[in-house]
Symmetry: C2
Subunit: 569 residues, 2 copies
């Protein structure tokens, strides 16, 4: 019997072995950098991709990541699905070798499927579906026929999925014509740490971090992650991506690999991530609009895709004299629990300023205490670790230090018995009602006749953190407790010339102290900064449209640089 370290090493090698030899890179391009002066910190650029062997044609193909545009190029026969999928597989191979992002590779199958799609188009003179020939990647939790779904657990290796065990989302994506090229990692002993391709000194976040790194390198057009405490939103923000965390019941969680089972914790949800907001909208519309998905998963709510919700926001945003009303935390832009790193504070201030410049209002957001939500979350979600323990034990491996560090501070919130556990559920229900009432109460303040349309909030207190640091997650989990629908929108990048540390900065609260990561302008330079636009339960269509409005506002913004307090420089 191999030790867990040996098993992990074998798995790592088996992933690399699925990359065609001509796509393998020299060691110099792959090795993890150690200082801000190391070469190849940012591995997303055209120059780097060219050095890594991507041809000009492949570079051109993989630079076009809008699904509607790719579909149009198939219909006009400008390019074949085979060529597109091959180019993205090549780029994904580079991405994996430079960031360690992939858990499973199926390039050969993907290219064969692309050929079949080309043949379908030739014969039927129409596309197979709204994802015809689109390269898609999935977080390792999504089960795919022929691949493993070890999701970090060494003890779970060697269980190969069949058509029967495939996740419903996998089936839906295949039925829509999508081509699954790879599955992406979560942090684990099974794999080496994933690097952030924008700055490889940093982590891409978790747990959909591999997916974030792959998409940031443009190694895939569209990915699916899952989020139970920020796991879509944090890697989206850390990698300059759009990411949708839907409410529970709109995307199927059926037959995903998980050590949680059906436990009554805060619900984990799947959702799309992409560099293109159009792609996130396209995927959501295609999957949610799919006929009768709710008949195949009793956990789904039969809410169809609601175009009017999107159209109303678009009309409101584009009509002179009208406009939307956002909300944001007042003052320094934090929630009173976690102090924001300078680039994040500037990111939020920039988004607020952009919205105002575009004619929207932004009012102060002073909701029920996020500390209450953090305590409910800690108590409800972490008694479940005995299952994680079981899965770790099955492979004889220890818990990751970063995970242990994240779980440890919450120990005191864990319920001692069923009565305390039930009490937490009561508190959660009350918190949800109080937050809903607060939101509704803003109707009197917005000037639009509606309550606040969406909240502009930090995703985490930090931009992408150094490797092996746990991220501070109060900004994410409150909205898991509320089961709200949220879109992450990329805003800016950390800039050592603007985002200067305040020597007087100190943790805001005991929780802040526990996960406090000091800001270092040199190391964080280039780290992406995003914000989350928060909508209420089941407002997916609305937050997608709010994301369009905010993105347009950011693009149209009169460019001025602001420091972390929102002051003009």
């Amino acid at each position: 019997m191999e030790s867990w370290r040996e098993k992990a090493e074998i798995k790592q090698k088996s992933i690399l072995a699925k990359i065609p030899e001509q796509w393998l890179l020299p060691q110099a391009l792959c090795v993890m950098p150690t200082t801000p002066d190391s070469p190849y910190l940012n591995v997303t650029t055209d120059a780097f991709m060219t050095e890594a062997g991507l041809s000009p044609r492949e570079l051109a193909i993989t630079s076009k990541t809008s699904i509607p545009e790719i579909l149009a190029s198939y219909e006009s026969q400008e390019v074949s699905a085979e060529e597109v999928v091959t180019a993205f597989c090549h780029r994904a191979a580079i991405s994996h070798q430079t960031t360690e992002c992939l858990a499973e590779i199926r390039f050969a199958d993907a290219i064969a499927e692309a050929k079949a799609q080309d043949e379908y188009l030739r014969v039927h003179k129409k596309l197979h579906g709204p994802l015809h020939g689109i390269p898609v990647s999935l977080k390792d939790q999504f089960r795919v026929k022929g691949l493993e779904s070890a999701i970090s657990y060494i003890g779970w290796l060697g269980r190969f999925e069949t058509a029967e065990t495939e996740s419903l989302i996998t089936k839906q994506i295949k039925e829509l014509g999508g081509i699954i090229i790879a599955k992406a990692k979560s942090p684990s002993n099974l794999h080496r740490p994933v690097m952030n391709p924008h700055n490889r000194l940093l982590s891409p976040g978790g747990s959909s971090g591999g997916e974030g790194a792959l998409l940031a390198s443009r190694g895939s057009v569209l990915g699916m992650g899952t989020d139970m405490g920020g796991s879509i939103r944090v890697p989206s923000a850390y990698n300059h991506l759009f990411g949708l965390k839907p409410s529970s019941g709109r995307f199927s969680y059926r037959d995903l690999a998980s050590s949680l089972g059906g436990k009554p914790v805060v619900p984990p949800v799947p959702g799309p991530m992409s560099a293109s907001l159009d792609n996130v909208i396209h995927l959501t519309q295609s999957v949610i609009g799919g006929i009768d998905a709710w008949r195949r998963d009793p956990g789904l709510v039969p809410l169809p895709w609601r175009a009017p919700l999107l159209d109303e926001v678009r009309a409101e945003a584009s009509t002179p004299g009208k406009g939307l009303c956002f909300a944001a935390f007042p003052g320094t832009g934090d929630d009173g629990i976690m102090r924001l790193h300078p680039p994040v504070a500037r990111g939020v201030a920039t988004a607020v300023r952009a919205a105002r410049q575009a004619g929207h209002r932004v009012i102060d957001w002073t909701p029920p205490s996020h500390m209450d939500a953090a305590m409910i979350y800690g108590g409800l979600c972490f008694p479940t670790t005995y299952d994680i323990d079981d899965a770790l034990k099955s492979g004889g491996e220890p818990m990751l230090g970063a995970v242990e560090n994240m779980l440890k501070p919450t120990e005191k919130y864990r319920p001692k018995d069923m009565a305390e556990y039930y009490e937490l559920f009561k508190k959660m229900k009350k918190y949800q009602e109080d937050y809903a009432d607060y939101w509704e109460s803003t109707r009197a303040l917005t000037g639009t006749g509606r309550p606040v349309d969406g909240i502009i909030a930090p995703v985490a207190a930090t931009a992408a953190v150094k490797h092996n640091s746990a991220y501070a997650f109060s900004y994410a989990i409150v909205y898991n407790v509320l089961d709200y629908s949220i879109l992450t929108v990329p805003v800016t990048f950390a800039d050592k010339n603007i985002d200067v540390a305040d020597p007087q900065d100190a943790p805001h609260s005991p929780i802040d102290e526990m996960s406090w990561v000091p800001y270092d302008a040199d190391i964080y330079h280039g780290a992406p900064v995003g914000v989350q636009i928060v909508g209420r339960r089941f407002e997916e269509e609305k937050v997608l449209a709010l994301g369009e409005a905010l993105s347009s506002a950011l693009k149209a913004m009169t460019y001025e640089k602001y420091d972390c307090r929102g002051w003009r420089l």
Copy 2:
């Protein structure tokens, strides 16, 4: 300090004290009968109501219980809301004195509100809303300003509700123009047992049993109950009523009085009950179609009222050569766990036969074992009794014998620790998926191109049972575990000349043995028998239309009498 018995007695008297003196009945009409030869067994008849003091005009008014018809009579000024509400209050007073059905009375306020509605109509020349001047009753769990919501607990007496603590459903009904005349009892030490007005030797079922008795006496036009294990469906069947148990998230449970809190058990749901299916449809459409109720209760799903689902079934049911496809348990019509009493077996067979005569198909239903659902339910719902214990202790009262009898057999299913508790949630999710897959698999068998439209199932193994017997609830709870949408449809009445006990009958299973109630043709004579039409999650509109189809089929049925095995006599 009074003992709990004294406190209960004081409460009983305070209810009676709210009945105007001229409506009080002689003791002879009120006393609980003891044998099938006792007088006044059935207190629903016109003759009895006349003897109890209802005037011919009041009798005529209270015989018209269709909301659309009542609204039309207001608009045509044929009658005033004051007169209608007064007549129903009088009838409710008779109902309470003969069945002990009410927990709270607000006749005086109701009549004053009716006068205000009349004035509104006179001034504005239009109705105040879709429930304008309609007398409505509520199970005691629904909080109403100015009333208590002790819901059976002596320790909870004396807490009077305010506008702030009112249940959202109460507010919705008031906003729609409805007039709340009374709140109805659940079984408790606080109150004497409620009697079934069709046969006062029998119970009206629980826990919305007071509501069932009131509606069966036509003391109200429409009532709201709640259902977590059959508590709407069982009293609906026992009282010859239509009752809708919706899926969780369509009717608001916000701010209902409950000893459950927000615990992650099988979800309790509110739903309407009435002698008229039109009323159940009218109420559902009005409440679900209400603007933005989901903004006021984050537990609601923003699914609007979906008329097309109703219309499709209506079209399918009325088109010659088409038709619906129902399913029913094969053989003797039971689920293999609980043997059916003869009147119930005949009721199901009658419904099946009526559906077939109307041109619909009925195929065999052999789903995943209901025993599995019973074990999941027992384990998930009954660890919660410590909260019931607390509430009982606060009043110094013991647990009701019938409730103790119902809970005791489930003790062995209770989880010993959190790990076992979590395991039950996993099993529940798996059971829901297996049942959904089974349902979907019937697509190949129905001949309609659709899977089975609805299941025709018993509601309980017995018709209304003798006082202080626990009902056998396996037929109800399986669909709480599945969170399905269900309509109860009245079918027939127990008939001692047809429904003859089989001397060889014996319990089917250990569970059956625990709650086995021997059939007695003489005692059960006249007890109502209903069936439940089961739809999948969130198919409320569909099951309402299926109920219309089955009711029409029953009315149109060529009248032949069948015994309990479906054989022609």
